[in-house]
Symmetry: C2
Subunit: 375 residues, 2 copies
C-alpha cells in the first residue's frame, strides 16, 4: 500500500477519509492517478517511494469516505424478476414502472461499515400466524452490489453525459438484508429495519478513469427510456463479481448484464432537483445474471429457502451465525490485464441475548454486549 502523504506532500492525503480529495473533481483525480502511476513504474522514483510502501498485511483498512446520502437501486432485471416471482407468485414478475425508471430508495448512511466489520444478526418483527413474533432474523441474507461515490457534488441534475464529471469511483457493497423483517415491514413505504442494521463496503475505491476498458455496450432497453435517461457516455461496465460463502464460491454475477446503467441511476436520482454532495453514494442493487450460478443473494440462490445450497458438508437457505461472506470483483484493463476491486467481507455474529432496550439495564449486558460493537 502506498502512503500518499509523504510522496505527494499534500494536506488532503493526511485526512481520515477521501472526501477532501474526491471533492477536487475529475481533472485533479486524473492528475494524481497519473502521478502515482509514474511514481510506481518509473525506476528513478524507486528509492523515494519505497519508504512510503506498507505491506497490506500490516495495515488496517478503514471506511474510505464519510458517507452523505446512500441510495440503493434495484437495477438488475434478473434479480427484480426473481424477487417478483418469489414474493408475488402468479402475478407479473416486474412492476409496471420497472422498465421506465431505475427503482431505488434511500438507505441508512450511519450504518455503512467497512469490510471486515462483524455483522450482528438483527432483532425485529417477523411475520407470524395472525400476529408477528419478535426475535433474531431467521432469514438473514447478503446482496452483492456495486457502488459509485460522488466526488464533485452538484446543485443541478447530473445528466447521463455528466456521469464521469461527478462520480469519483466504484467499489463493492454488501447490502445485508433480513428477509423476514423486510417482508413484514415494507408495505407501503419500502425496506427499513430489514436493511438498516449494516451495509458493508470495500475499502478500495477504483477511480472511474481506471474503468475505461471495462465500459461495455449498454443493454437493450425496451421501451425506449425517456430523454433524460439517454445520451452519450451511457454505457454498462463489464465487472465480474464473485461471492464466496465460508470459502466456497456460490455465485459469479456479471455486472455487464444490468438493465439500468450507473449513469442512468445518477441521472434519475437527481432529475427532481435533489442536489448531490461529496461522499453521497448509490449502489446498483443486487447483481444477478440469468442462470442460478449468477444470482447475487441467498433469497434467489435458495429460491426463498425451497432449494437450499449444499455447502461443504452442510446446507444453507439463509446465513447462520459464524458464516462469512466475501465478495470480490475484477474488471478488464489494458493489454489483457484485470483490475481488482479488493473485497468486501463480513462475518455474522449472533445478536446479544442481553441487548439493552431501556435504562433499567445499565450496561451492555454481558460479553456479547453491543457496547463493543465496532462501527
Amino acid at each position: 500500500m502506498l502512503d500518499l502523504l509523504p510522496v505527494l506532500g499534500e494536506q488532503v492525503f493526511a485526512e481520515r477519509s477521501l472526501n477532501a480529495f474526491m471533492a477536487q473533481g475529475r481533472a485533479r483525480c486524473g492528475d494524481v492517478r497519473a502521478r502515482i502511476t509514474e511514481l510506481l513504474t518509473d525506476e528513478r522514483h524507486r528509492r523515494g517511494v519505497e519508504a512510503a510502501l506498507h505491506p497490506l498485511a500490516g495495515v488496517r483498512l478503514h471506511r474510505p469516505f464519510e458517507v452523505g446520502d446512500y441510495v440503493d437501486f434495484y437495477a438488475s432485471e434478473n434479480h427484480a424478476a426473481n424477487v417478483g416471482r418469489l414474493f408475488r407468485p402468479g402475478g407479473e414478475a416486474l412492476m409496471p414502472n420497472w422498465k421506465h425508471l431505475p427503482v431505488g430508495y434511500h438507505g441508512r448512511s450511519g450504518t455503512v461499515v467497512v469490510s471486515g466489520t462483524p455483522v450482528l444478526r438483527p432483532l425485529g418483527q417477523r411475520p407470524g400466524e395472525g400476529a408477528p413474533t419478535f426475535g433474531p432474523s431467521r432469514r438473514l441474507d447478503f446482496e452483492a452490489e456495486v457502488g459509485f461515490v460522488i466526488g464533485a457534488g452538484s446543485t443541478v441534475p447530473i445528466g447521463v453525459g455528466a456521469f464521469a464529471d461527478h462520480v469519483f469511483g466504484a467499489f463493492l457493497v454488501n447490502d445485508w438484508s433480513a428477509r423476514d423483517i423486510q417482508a413484514w415491514e415494507s408495505r407501503p413505504l419500502g425496506p427499513f429495519l430489514g436493511k438498516s442494521f449494516a451495509t458493508s463496503i470495500s475499502p478500495w475505491i477504483v477511480p472511474l478513469e481506471a474503468l475505461e476498458q471495462a465500459r461495455t455496450a449498454m443493454p437493450p432497453q425496451d421501451p425506449r427510456p425517456l430523454p433524460y435517461l439517454t445520451g452519450p457516455g451511457n454505457t454498462g461496465f463489464d465487472l465480474a463479481l464473485e461471492i464466496r460463502l465460508n470459502g466456497q464460491v456460490v455465485s459469479c454475477p456479471p455486472f455487464s448484464g444490468m438493465y439500468w446503467t450507473p449513469a442512468q441511476m445518477l441521472a434519475h436520482m437527481t432529475v427532481n432537483g435533489a442536489r448531490t454532495r461529496t461522499g453521497d453514494f448509490f449502489a446498483s442493487g443486487t447483481v444477478s445474471g440469468p442462470v442460478r450460478e449468477q444470482r447475487g443473494c441467498l433469497l434467489e440462490l435458495s429460491w426463498g429457502g425451497a432449494e437450499p445450497l449444499t455447502l461443504g458438508g452442510s446446507v444453507r437457505s439463509f446465513l447462520e451465525d459464524g458464516d462469512e461472506v466475501v465478495i470480490t470483483a475484477t474488471a478488464p484493463a489494458a493489454d489483457g490485464a484485470r483490475i481488482g476491486f479488493g473485497e468486501v467481507t463480513g462475518r455474522i455474529l449472533p445478536g446479544p441475548p442481553g441487548r439493552v432496550v431501556g435504562p433499567t439495564r445499565p450496561s451492555a449486558g454481558g460479553p456479547r454486549g453491543l457496547g463493543s460493537r465496532s462501527w
Copy 2:
C-alpha cells in the same frame, strides 16, 4: 434572540450548528437551559444580557443542525387510513403491519433545508396512459409533521424509557411531496424522488425538557404492542399545529392524536441494532386528526383532488407556483402559558425551463437557473 457565545463564553456556541452542544447530552442541556432562564429572568443580569440580544427581524436563521440520517414515519392513523382509502379504494384502509409497528423509511438528508428556503417544483415521471410522461409535478403537496433530533447518539437500541436521554428536542417539518411522482415510483421500494427534492425544517429546536407539560396520555393501542415498544415514559405530546396556505388557515392538526408515540418510533428505529448519531432525526409523518379541518396535507384536504379547497377567490387541489405554506405549533407550558415552535415556511417556485441535464448545456439555463438555488 439571545446570542449564547458572549453570555456563556463556550466554544460549542461559536459553532455553525447545534451538533457539538447537542452531543453533550441531556444533563448538560438541562444545565444550559436553567442558566439561560436565569439570565433572561433575573434582573441582576439585565445589563450583561442586553448586549447579546438581537431583534429577530434583524437576523437570518440557519438550519439548526447538521443532519445525519433522516427517517420519516407514518404514525397518524387518520392520515394512513385516509391515504389507504384514496390509493386502495375498496381495500383495507390500513396494511396488516400498521398497528404492529410504526411504519417508516429513510429520506434524503442532503436536501433538508431551513424554513424560508424556496422550493422548486420538481420534474419527474408522472403516471400516464400506458407510459409515463415527464415534466413538472402536477400534484405538489405539503405534509405537516413534527421532528425529533438525536443529541447523544447510541450504539445500542434506545428503549422507550431512554427516549429523553437521547432526544435533544422537537421541531416542525414540512415533508414536501410530489404525489404523482410518488405514486408512480413507489412500488415496491417506497417513496424516492417524490420526496427527495426538499424537506423543510423550522430553525428553532424546542428542548425536550420544555415539553414536560405537553406530555399526554398515550393513545389506546390495540393490539397491544410488542414489549420493546412499551415502558415507562411512553407518552404522547399535546402539540397544536396550524397550517396556513397563502395566509389562510386550512388545517389545525392535533399531535396528541397520533397512534404511535415518538418514543416508540425511536425504539423501533433502533431495535435492529442500527446506531444513532448526533444530528440524526426522525419525523412523525403527516399529522392528521379525525375531521377534515385537521388533515395535514392537501392530498387528504382535497381528497385526492375530488374536493378542492376554496382559498380566498381561488381553489386548490394541490400547490401552485407562488403558493406559500406556513406551519406553526404551540404546546402547553407551566401556568397556562404556551410555548411556540416558531414556524416552517416555504414558497413554491416553478422548476426552471432550461434545467441542466447534461454537459451539452453549459450553464444553469437562464434567470431561473438552479445555480442560484440556496441549499
